[in-house]
Symmetry: C2
Subunit: 402 residues, 2 copies
């Protein structure tokens, strides 16, 4: 018995049957004596359909109007989910983001939550209502609707859990939890019972599409215990919290990220501050840089190689070409790469994780182009076509199949 | 130059091409130096589609949740229309009902506007923004979204025009104005240049689907000059105002209403107050009664006949059967009827209007079942299959084809 915040993504409410399934999960939780606040995304392809409609009228529509348009998606799904719960005879009320107290900054399209004013939520819970909240949206200082950006419903759920001091925040998805690798592609994967916020953050950043990054950051900041679990199969999921049991594992998982482009800048003058200038030009264009490698080139030059998100590849090349007086062909973008990583807080105190990973790759004859390490992860950049083979090999090295 | 409020219905914004057409009407008005506030309905079948989706999950969904669901329709169309105007390079902002200051009573599904707080509207107009407002919706005392009921966007537009003291409120439809009869069915109809509020109210009530009734009442109350005109053909429409030029016409139009059921109650005891009891029972069920006819029956009984909307027919029969101890078969509902009316403020001072109407019907051998008159209209109840013939005959009598 307690207060449970639940979040259901777009595929979990894609049609009437799935909406009914979600309603039954919520009702079961309520019947066990819990107060329930459920955050819901837009149904299935609603958001994409709306984006398409907007593009037909104006490919450069303002983000303010896009936010007003897209937030209608969650408005519809939240009302429909409430109706499905009404149909079963339980007390329920749906609230839009602004009704649920979400106040954000003024960045349309990817607003950050400033605060959740919980009066209305508390009031409805006090009346023993199940509360359905339209995720992904809030209200800014101009009294205009903002959206939190894609995946923002996770953040909505965690923010409510934090504001209400909920006992748990359950994120329902189409997987059963967080695995040591993608179970659809790698043999012998294991579902993790627990994982720390930091590990989850690394996994999210590295391409495990389970939880939105901002939501994990917020969960960590407010110490909200998050459970990732399936909306289709009712079994315990993975709990994300500050200190997690290690289950005798050094690492938590092996991930692959193919949304990577490698930019090579060849023949940069070998003068002080050149790297700073280069990366500050990129930062000014809001291009996030990941792995960086700097090497001595021919004569008085050096080569700088780094990775960015694929969608930023062209812009990065353009920015550097415009900013520096380089020979033609000296800025190269390679999108045929993938980043494979091992993540785990255990590795800091256990030497040999890196060598074990490299050995596994060597045995499969996979060439490592770049390496990046942090306290809880090791990433390598390799050819895209080797990625799945690499994940399997590395996973097998750390999680031997019994 | 002035402040113009415009309203565009669902068919006027049904697809991208029509949205662009509406955008061009708004922009033309703005370019002529006017401030423009445009109220928009949901696109095409959006509202019906949402109602269907809701019915699939819960045929008895609460009206509160229905309002939250349906108001998303206008939210989407208003943002899309704003984007289409942005695409042409004009300053524009879309506002939801609550952002535009609509405060309503708490009757979900058919809320009445209590006030329009015009601060935000004035603020946006002051910035020289074209303002697009999501029609049909407001906010009640619980901070919940309400809808004004079908046709409510007309009322939204008139309410804004009243609150802002607009110079004119233009209601764009798929007809060019108000005609002396339905031009698709009757030969030789004429478009009226002007018409009074009272005449328009009678026409609306009598089945001319041009303007929503509540919107005309509100326009009369606040003396808002309304123009009904076409969004497809740019010609002057019909102006609705307090005093209209009569153009030498006694009557304004001939209308037909087939949404009528005639209830006959035969053999009611001929005791005082029986009619009062009967109609108060119906009123308690929210059944509006229109034409009433009371006649002496056999023995000590009388017969009472009246008309109601078709959708209320069964309920009316049930209510009376449950309330009075009558012989079986003595309450009869006939839905095969139609009401044909002539409307015009001129008829009060010109005797002979009724006889002219009756003569036209007599010549076509059409039997009159019931008659009802007011200061500005005469209605007759006839067989449904005679309705079109009756309208044509009566129209011809009052508007001879040259």
């Amino acid at each position: 018995m307690g207060l449970i915040v639940q979040k259901f993504g777009g595929s979990s409410v894609a049609d009437a049957a799935r909406v009914r399934n979600v309603a039954s999960i919520i009702i079961d939780t309520y019947k066990q004596g819990n107060d329930v606040v459920a955050v819901v995304s837009a149904q299935g392809d609603t958001t994409d359909d709306l984006i398409e409609k907007a593009a037909e009228l104006n490919p450069k529509a303002s983000k303010r109007e896009m936010d007003s348009l897209l937030s209608a998606g969650e408005q519809m799904s939240s009302a429909l989910l409430a109706m499905a719960i009404e149909a079963e005879g339980y007390p329920v009320v749906s609230l839009l983001g602004w009704q649920a107290g979400f106040r954000t900054d003024n960045v349309y399209g990817s607003a950050r939550i400033k605060t959740v004013q919980p009066e209305r939520l508390k009031n409805e819970i006090g009346k023993k209502n199940i509360v359905i909240v339209a995720g992904f949206q809030g209200l800014n200082g101009f009294d205009d609707i903002t959206t939190l950006g894609r995946g923002g419903s996770d953040t909505s759920a965690v923010a409510i859990a934090a504001a209400l001091h909920a006992d748990r925040c359950q994120i329902f998805t189409d997987v059963e939890g967080v695995y040591t690798a993608d179970p659809r592609k790698v043999e012998g994967t294991k579902k993790l019972a627990e994982i720390t916020y930091d590990e989850m953050l690394e996994l999210a950043t590295l391409g495990a599409q389970v939880l939105n990054n901002r939501s994990v950051e917020r969960a960590k900041k407010y110490n909200v215990e998050v459970e990732v679990l399936s909306s289709l199969k009712r079994v315990p999921g993975t709990i994300v919290k500050e200190v997690a049991k290690m289950e005798k594992m050094l690492i938590r998982g092996v991930t692959k990220d193919t949304d990577v482009a490698r930019i090579s800048v060849i023949g940069v003058p070998n003068t002080p501050g050149i790297a700073f200038k280069l990366f500050s030009k990129l930062a000014a264009k809001n291009i996030n840089v990941d792995i960086i490698l700097q090497s001595v080139g021919r004569n008085d030059t050096k080569d700088i190689t780094f990775t960015v998100a694929k969608s930023n590849g062209e812009l990065a090349v353009q920015t550097i070409t415009d900013s520096f007086d380089l020979e033609e062909g000296s800025v190269v973008c390679d999108t045929n790469v993938a980043k494979v990583s091992v993540v785990g807080a255990g590795m800091e105190t256990h030497p040999g994780t890196a060598s074990k990973m490299f050995e596994a790759l060597y045995e499969k004859d996979i060439n490592i182009q770049m390496i990046s390490t942090s306290e809880i992860k090791i990433s390598v950049l390799i050819n895209a076509e080797d990625a799945d083979k690499a994940v399997s090999a590395v996973h097998k090295a750390f999680f031997p199949v019994d």
